[in-house]
Every structure is written in C-alpha cells, then in structure tokens.
C-alpha cells in the first residue's frame, strides 16, 4: 500500500488542479465558518427513527467525515443534506438543516437548485451509459447550456479537477462504461464538479475500489477541499483519519461526538467513540 501510493501520487498531483482553483474570497482566517448547520434533525423511515435529534455544524472548505457502524444513520444524514431522502417514500424529516443560513427544509426551498449547490458522489459509481463528455456536461445541459465552447471548457476543467483529464482527454467521446471502476468514480466526481457546487457529499466513495484507486480519490479529496466543502461517509476509520479535518461519530442514530479529526482519533471525550475507534465494536 505504502509503495503503491509512492508510485501513484506523482501522477495525481497536477499543477492544473491548482490553476483551476478559485480564489478564496472569504479570507483564509475565517476558514472554520460553518456552511451547513444541522439543528435537532430527526429522520424517520416509517415508524423507525434513523436519526435522533442530531445537531452540529459543518465547516466550510474542510473535509468532514461521518463515521460509525452500519445502521448508525450516517448515510441518512448525508442524504438529508441535499434532500435525496425526498425520493424515498415514507421518510419524515424534522428539525432544520441550514445551508448558508437558509433552511433547506423550508417550503420555499427549491430542491432542484439545492441539489446543484450540494452535489453528491455515490457508493457505487453511476455514470450514465453515455460518453465521458456527455456525462460531465449533463448538469449544464439540463439548465439549457448547450454552447459548445462553454461545454468544452467545463469538460476540461472538471476532468482536470477530478484528476481524470490526462487519462481520458483523447477519448472524450468513448462510452463511460469502458472506464475502470476508479476512473468511473472520478468521472462521477467530475460530473458533480461541473455544476460548481458549494458542497460535495460523498457516500463511501471508495468502498468498492481497489487500494490504488482509493489512494487517488483520497488525494483528490485533499485537493478539492481547497475549493469545496466535503462531507464524506466512510466505513473505513483509517480513511476518515487520512482525509478529514473534522469527524462526526454516529451510533444508533445519535451523534455521539463531533470534533477535529485529530482529537476524535487521539483523545475522544466519549467512551463509545473510543471503543469504536479502537475497534472494540463496530
């Protein structure tokens, strides 16, 4: 693993990514400004309560990991941040989630617009069975952007940001399903980045990938959090430790502990967190 990373990283670190980065307007000093505020969030699937009064704040332009054993509600929480839970029947959500101070569960919220601001990467990569190019530009086409040069520019920029450009630049019109799993997942990241979201939600993005692809995506997360806020659900505690600045530990629908990753992994306040981190259960 160490060796492989050593081999792969030089390829991943690309100057273009830095060039594509947008200037940080809000000032580097104010880096811990919360972009998402979750308040007393309860989510029910029918009668079963999946999240119990969860409250915490997700800082802007940081990577926040959600960890915990299966069924602890971490994916439910992630999907409540862009209202993907709306697509599931019998889901009830109470409490509030504020994005830039606006409650996304308010009746006035436009869910379509919300999902453009909060992009999502899924556990199983899901590119459309279309060309690489069409995958990346889909988010633009649906809002009526069909200007060729604009689309071309977005494709290049997004694929570079997703560290996929060098591998596919000569085959942009090839089918996305011809790519390897890791490439497909990075294509999905490029597709999400093309609409310039503020927040990127990642639902166990590496759980079905090999170690080399995983290393690439983890490296990518480090690059992306300079420009985007990242919330990542992971089963893999080492991964959470590697990629995140903040970690939230969930157990049985409750947020047990939230704090800086370094603290959660070295000196957690709660006994349950420590037991989980040290592998006593999970």
């Amino acid at each position: 693993m160490e060796l492989q990373q050593g081999l792969e990283i030089p390829k991943i670190k690309m100057p273009q990514v830095v060039a594509a980065k947008e200037p940080v307007e809000k000032g580097a000093a104010e880096t811990t400004r919360p972009i998402i505020e979750v308040r007393d969030l309860d989510v029910y699937y029918g009668a079963a309560q999946a999240l119990k009064s969860v409250s915490f704040e997700i800082p802007e332009k940081k990577a926040t990991a959600l960890i915990g054993p299966s069924g602890c509600g971490k994916t439910t929480l992630l999907r409540s941040l862009n209202r993907m839970n709306d697509l599931i029947q019998n889901v009830r959500t109470m409490g509030s989630v504020k994005l830039d101070g606006e409650d996304i569960y308010a009746p006035s919220t436009d869910v379509i617009n919300l999902r453009r601001r909060v992009g999502m990467i899924f556990q199983k990569w899901n590119p459309f069975p279309k060309s690489i190019y069409e995958n990346v530009v889909y988010g633009l086409r649906i809002v009526g952007i069909n200007n060729r040069s604009h689309l071309d520019g977005t494709v290049e920029k997004s694929l570079k940001r997703a560290a996929l450009w060098d591998e596919v630049k000569d085959n942009l019109h090839k089918s996305a399903s011809d790519l390897s799993g890791g490439q497909q997942q990075r294509l999905c990241i490029a597709r999400a980045l093309a609409v310039e979201p503020e927040v990127l939600l990642m639902d166990e993005p590496c759980s079905a990938l090999d170690p080399i692809s995983t290393a690439k995506i983890e490296e990518l997360i480090h690059e992306l959090k300079e420009s985007f806020t990242i919330v990542i659900v992971t089963h893999n505690m080492q991964q959470a430790a590697r990629v995140s600045d903040y970690t939230a530990f969930f157990y049985l629908g409750e947020l047990i502990e939230f704090g800086e990753t370094s603290k959660i992994f070295t000196a957690p306040d709660k006994r349950q967190t420590e037991d989980y981190i040290t592998g006593r259960f999970g």
Binding site: M84, I112, R115, N126, I142, A192
Partner: protein
C-alpha cells in the same frame, strides 16, 4: 456414509428427471408451431404466387387474393400502434415514476391488470357502441385501429412499467443529484435506457393485435372488399389525406375466416395460404422485437 450416497444419488436423479421434463415441455410448444406451419404450408403453399398478394377477393377461388386484407391489416396496425404506444408508454411511465403509492394508484393498477384479461369480443362490443355509434367513426379503419389499441393498451402499459423498473435506481439518483427535474430524468435517462424493452413489448402486443378477429367483426369489418382505401398522399395541397382512416376495411384473419366458411375446398386452400402469410408476418414482427432488444441491450451497459 452409504445413506448419504443414496441421498446424493436420489438428488442427482431428480435433477436429471427435471431436465428431461423441461426438454419435453419445450418440445410440445415447438412441435405445435412446427406442425401448424407445415400443415398450412402443405395446403396453401401452392397458392402463394405474386397474384395472390395483388388480387382482390373473388368468387373464383383461383383468382381470389389478399390485397385488400394485407393492406387493411397494415393500416389498422398503423392506427393501433400510433394510438396505443403514446398512451401506453405515458401511462406506464406515470405509474412507475410519478404516481404516489396510494389507494387511487392501487385501484388503477388493479384495473389495468383486469383490463388485460377482458375477452376481446367485449372490447368489440364497447367499440361498436363508443367509436362506431357514439363518435360516429363508422365501420372504418380508424374504429378498428382504436379498438385494437384499447385491446393492447394494458400489454403496452405493463411492458413499459417492467422496462422502466429495470432501469437502475442509481441512474435516477445520479440525475436528481445534479439537479435534474423528474421529467428531465425520465426523458434523458429512464426512457432512453428502457426503449429496448418497451419496443419489444409494443411489438409483442401488436403481433397479438394482428391476429384479432372477433372485435373487428363486431364493429363491422367487411369480409369482401374489392377496393383499396384512399391513398395517404395526394398530388394537390395539402398533399396528405386522411380519407383512408374512414374507409371500410377487411383484415387478414377476417379474410381467412370468410374463406374457411365457404363450402368449396379451393377456398380452404386460400385460407391456408393467407394463414401462412399471417404467421410469417407475426414471426417477422417477433424477429424485429428480438433484434431490437439485442441492439438496445448491447448499446447500454451499466
């Protein structure tokens, strides 16, 4: 030890017995079709000349042909497809993608399932009252096409729903997560990815409609037609004509029915020949369905 060996042997024997039973069952279907084709071919193949396809019916069996019948069948199928496909696909997509799961949806679903089981003659009676008399469409190609469209509507709806359901939910999630509306998700992803299945269902439905006789006799299809419907294209403005829609008609199975009910044996040979043509038409349609399914499956890989 010995006991276990006996059990294993018995289980293996069961396996072998089922394989043979399955093979026999398959052959029953295959042989029936083959026997039917051979029987029709033996009787009718001598009549399958070019003039048979280009002649109108006649009271002389050796001069009678199926021109008006196959033209009628083709036109009726056109109307049927043009009506049943948009209605059925829209209904299927609505039920799968849009309908909330409540008692109204459940009621509609039960109704569609029942509709598929209604005898075709009942559709004929309904069409006679509704299309022929109420809407004054007459005993026309239009009435016949609409009748058969209603008949196959449930099949198209069910086929659409099955194919739409087969589109992985991850595709919908991907589109929604990018801010696509429901309609964009349906139009850009769900429908294109399920086209193969829908087309297959549509063609299977049409190949059922092509053989329907009872409902068309009920609405008053003629059995002896010695003219063709008006041409769809005209020399003068507006160049297209829909007169043919209102034309009286006959179709292949009705022509066959007419010939088999005549006393002369020579007409029975004509019926066999027409039956052979109808079978081949159906097999070609099914062949197209299989080809389309293959094409679309190959094009779309998840």
């Amino acid at each position: 030890m010995g006991d276990i060996e006996i059990r294993v042997a018995r289980r293996k024997r069961m396996d072998g017995i089922f394989a043979i039973l399955g093979l026999v069952s398959t052959f029953v279907g295959m042989l029936t079709l083959a026997a039917l084709m051979v029987d029709l071919a033996m009787d009718g193949s001598a009549r399958l000349t070019q003039t048979f396809f280009t002649s109108f019916p006649s009271r002389f069996p050796d001069q009678a042909g199926i021109l008006s019948a196959w033209v009628g069948t083709t036109l009726v199928m056109l109307v049927t497809a043009a009506t049943a496909v948009p209605l059925g696909v829209a209904a299927g997509v609505y039920l799968e993608e849009y309908a909330p799961s409540n008692w109204i949806t459940a009621l509609i679903e039960i109704n569609i399932a029942n509709l598929a089981g209604v005898p075709s003659i009942v559709y004929g009676l309904m069409a006679l009252g509704l299309f022929v008399y109420q809407f004054r469409l007459g005993q026309s190609i239009l009435s016949a096409g609409l009748t058969l469209a209603l008949l196959i509507l449930p099949i198209v709806i069910v086929a659409t729903r099955e194919s739409v359901r087969a589109v992985p939910g991850t595709m919908r999630e991907a589109a929604y997560a990018l801010g696509a509306t429901k309609w964009q998700t349906v139009k850009d992803h769900v429908l294109p990815y399920s086209t193969g299945g829908i087309l297959t269902g549509v063609i299977i439905a049409l190949s059922r409609a092509i053989g329907e006789t009872a409902p068309l006799i009920t609405i008053g299809a003629l059995t002896f037609i010695a003219f063709l419907p008006g041409p769809p294209l005209k020399a003068e403005f507006p160049f297209v004509s829909f007169e043919w829609l209102m034309s009286p008609f006959t179709v292949m199975p009705i022509q066959m029915f007419n010939w088999t009910s005549r006393p002369q044996h020579a007409f029975h040979l004509n019926a066999a020949a027409a039956g052979l043509v109808l079978m081949v038409m159906t097999l070609i349609m099914n062949g197209i369905a299989i080809y389309l399914r293959y094409r679309f499956r190959k094009r779309i890989r998840w």
